[in-house]
Symmetry: C2
Subunit: 514 residues, 2 copies
């Protein structure tokens, strides 16, 4: 991986000056082209050996281009708001919008490498993390992000030389810290982790580019040219003559069709949608389960967990009513609702899951999604709002996303509220009659009803493909709304209790309720 990077690379000053002028102009052109067309964003990951010129090169790039459309993020210690959310949240919140460039220092690759070198995680855990990274990067690329990854390299001898020369100069002495020397001592160990790490996370869509760090002029030109070629090839322009061909960053989607079932048997068809529960029984159950959920929400251990609840279902199945029975059990200060409709302009400029990541709550809070990220494999699939390739890959992207949540201590519950076709008709007609329910029924509802069968098979696929061990779907028989609401409350309570049971009772302070 690093063999050629440690060879002696040099460029003389005159040649550098000439090339640099051309490069700057071309980079600026490419940047404005990117900004104007705004078809995609560029995300540059910066990693590598200390002292290999990472920050110098980034400073140079921001100097060469228009700094207004470059967003540099360095991921040091997470803030408390970041610590209380899944580790990827901080990266999502820093993603550049389409048309702009983001530069990430110490992104998702840093911690797995450091933790493995320090012996904090096992080889197996490292493999798992590598898989997580591969899937994250694939998803970003598929979503149209031009992902460019630079690894700045120095051999052990070069690093020692570099640190010493920095220490000698009073103007740069401050830059060398004890930590650098500590890292230097574990150089060989570090490399023995990095080498396979880089290989495994180098994919056709997003390969690592190893940059020899010893000569400032050489590495600056190399990065500049590479970035230019990558941007221009994506922008569909001719690259500079002097630059080598960059890898193709275009997304290739050739989805394989889902198999059609040979009969009508599907998970939904097996449900007995009519379930008994009288109004009287309902009232008793409601008090009981709302009370329990309320108590659980005030448990001291809930300071190390949060709840993300997804409500999906047939139109008219009573999502809103079920949500209100849940919020009715909670202090209004500890939950938020998100009603998912058309994405905003800022959301459209980001990868699909961005609009959901932004709502992921801190510990101690509930978030209730009325419709969710499943829109992609339901309405977007059926209405053709996205390509077949997009919704086909969404299944595994969603599974990855949900796994990240659950691993972080999020209690994830997903409800599919199902009613029969007849029951839907009855409810639609009733809604049209009752004045204060009229807002709930629109022409679109009637149109969707005509696509009943398409929805049934999309839902069935969705459940098959996204009901995982960590994030199972709960199918809720909802012809009887009383039964439906109680099942939602009970399920949510039990899921929360199960998670709280795994958290040690370290703190006895309960949340204030008044």
């Amino acid at each position: 991986m690093f063999e050629s990077a440690t060879l002696k690379h040099q460029i003389d000053k005159v040649a550098y000056g000439r090339e640099r002028a051309k490069l700057r102009r071309a980079l600026l052109d490419a940047q404005y082209d990117l900004k104007e067309r705004a078809h995609f964003s560029v995300l540059i990951l910066i990693a590598g050996v200390e002292g290999a010129g990472k920050s110098e090169t980034v400073n140079l790039l921001t100097e060469w281009m228009d700094p207004r459309y470059i967003h540099t993020s360095a991921f040091f210690q997470p803030s408390d708001e970041e610590r209380e959310r899944p580790a990827h949240w901080r990266f999502w919140r820093a993603l550049p919008p389409k048309g702009e460039i983001g530069i990430f220092y110490g992104a998702w690759h840093t911690m797995p490498i450091v933790e493995r070198v320090m012996g904090e995680i096992s080889e197996g855990e490292l493999s798992r993390r590598i898989g997580e990274i591969q899937r994250l990067e694939k998803m970003l690329c598929d979503e149209g992000v031009l992902l460019i990854k630079y690894w700045f390299h120095l051999s052990k001898g070069q690093q020692k030389e570099r640190l010493k020369s920095l220490e000698k100069d009073p103007r740069t002495r401050w830059r060398v810290t004890d930590l650098d020397w500590r890292y230097f001592k574990v150089y060989d160990q570090f490399m023995s982790v990095c080498d396979p790490f880089l290989r495994k996370t180098s994919t056709a869509q997003a390969p690592w580019t190893v940059v020899p760090g010893a000569d400032a002029r050489f590495r600056s030109l190399m990065v500049g040219r590479h970035l230019l070629t990558a941007m221009n090839s994506r922008l569909g322009q001719k690259p500079l003559k002097s630059a080598k061909k960059a890898p193709d960053h275009g997304a290739s989607d050739r989805p394989i069709r889902l198999p059609k079932p040979s009969d009508d048997a599907n998970t939904l068809a097996t449900l007995v949608l009519d379930q008994p529960l009288s109004k009287g029984q309902y009232k008793k159950h409601l008090e009981k389960w709302q009370g329990r959920l309320n108590l659980a929400s005030r448990d001291a251990r809930f300071k190390s967990a949060s709840v993300v609840a997804v409500f999906e279902g047939t139109d008219g199945a009573g999502k809103g009513g079920a949500i209100r029975r849940v919020t009715g059990a909670l202090d209004s200060r500890c939950y938020s609702n998100v009603s998912v409709a058309a994405p905003t302009e800022e959301e459209r400029a980001q990868p699909y899951l961005w609009r959901f990541w932004r709502h992921i709550p801190r510990y101690g809070r509930f978030i209730l999604f009325d419709r969710s990220w499943y829109g992609r494999v339901l309405v977007e699939r059926i209405e053709g709002f996205c390509s077949e390739g997009d919704w086909m890959r969404a299944y595994s992207e969603i599974n990855d996303f949900e796994e990240l949540l659950v691993r972080h201590g999020v209690v994830l519950v997903k409800f599919w509220l199902a009613i029969s076709k007849d029951e839907q008709l009855r409810r639609f007609r009733q809604r049209e009659r009752v004045p204060f329910k009229r807002f709930k029924i629109t022409a679109e509802d009637w149109r969707n009803r005509q696509k009943w069968d398409s929805y049934q098979s999309a839902v069935s696929d969705m459940i098959d493909r996204t009901s995982t061990a960590v994030a199972p779907w709960t199918l809720v028989e909802s012809n009887n709304k009383y039964y439906s609401r109680i099942k939602v409350l009970k399920t949510m309570y039990h899921a929360l209790e199960r998670t709280l049971g795994h958290i040690p009772k370290k703190s006895a302070i309960s949340m204030r309720g008044s």
Copy 2:
């Protein structure tokens, strides 16, 4: 203020049930009307005595209405991300967009009252804070927010009774904490601060409504009715018959015209725009001041401060070039750029300053605004993008905003880059000739040039009205771009040094630079 609130108010169960059903329906109607038309947002502040039913009432409101469009925020301990920004930042980030309802517990009124009761701030400081709140609320109302403030009240005897009865019931015992009893002990002191506080922060646009807290049914109906009337009167609908007339929340803008100067003398006209500095001298100065700025940015004390820099100026005056000379001195990980253009959809749904507040950085960081909140008194004024009332009130809103920044330890520098009309012509023509500068010159630039005189007088007004002691404008003579850039760097360095000089050197750890 509280006299009538402590009288015995009661509503019997039957009357309550009847009224509640009507109220729920009407509130839901009003809420959907608000959502659909999205002309304004509703912000409800919740304050008052402990045990007076604050959280119960809010829970009820969210139950009565559609919880998807109500966002409740409780402001407890600030997170570290909040602590490192001016105190108002956390409120701005939680503001509801147009068409939706926000509920704030413990908003900006809580801390001044508590700190005064505890003797932590003086009477004078309390007055200052009250002024700050008055101006903030006025601004929100002028920006179209329907601001509704409820104070939930109990007499001393009622509070004691309430706490005791909560303690008796095992289901509510958890709600009474030692803190509640500690607050109870200082009830009289608390009231002696609250009473004048409420009077002073009760304005025609946003009066406090005192809600008697003792009877749950009475307070629920009172708040529900009041909210309904306020929303409907703003929505232009007829209020419910049973509700009393709510105060008029409409903004009234009757601006007084700015005086026209009787001669051409203005601040800009006194500037000597041609200032000498050769390229050779420039290079030396550049190295010197960039070096100093870099050193200052790595000072350990910069962990308790941040820099907000505003770049405004005549078209073609070299804002971009000046910004690049500043960023050239900085590590790319410690600054961000914001180029201010047309607001996004999410920004348009918020009060004007929201789009700037969202970028205010944490400590240890620089943010550079290429154009800024001054757009309102420059381009928006001249092009008529906002009403005269809007830009007239913007001067003081901006002054308030900037004072909040500076009080929090933000180093605020504001540059106006000025060039002569001839110099502008020369630069425009040159830009049209040089290929890689062509993107910088558009038809709009030529159109703006025709409005030269309007801009000069708008700029002159802006400087007169917003060059305050805490946030002075720096006028930069920019016909010679070398001189201009050095003046910017020097000014920024000195401003930063001045602020750092006031911060004790508590920590010797410097920021890592590599």
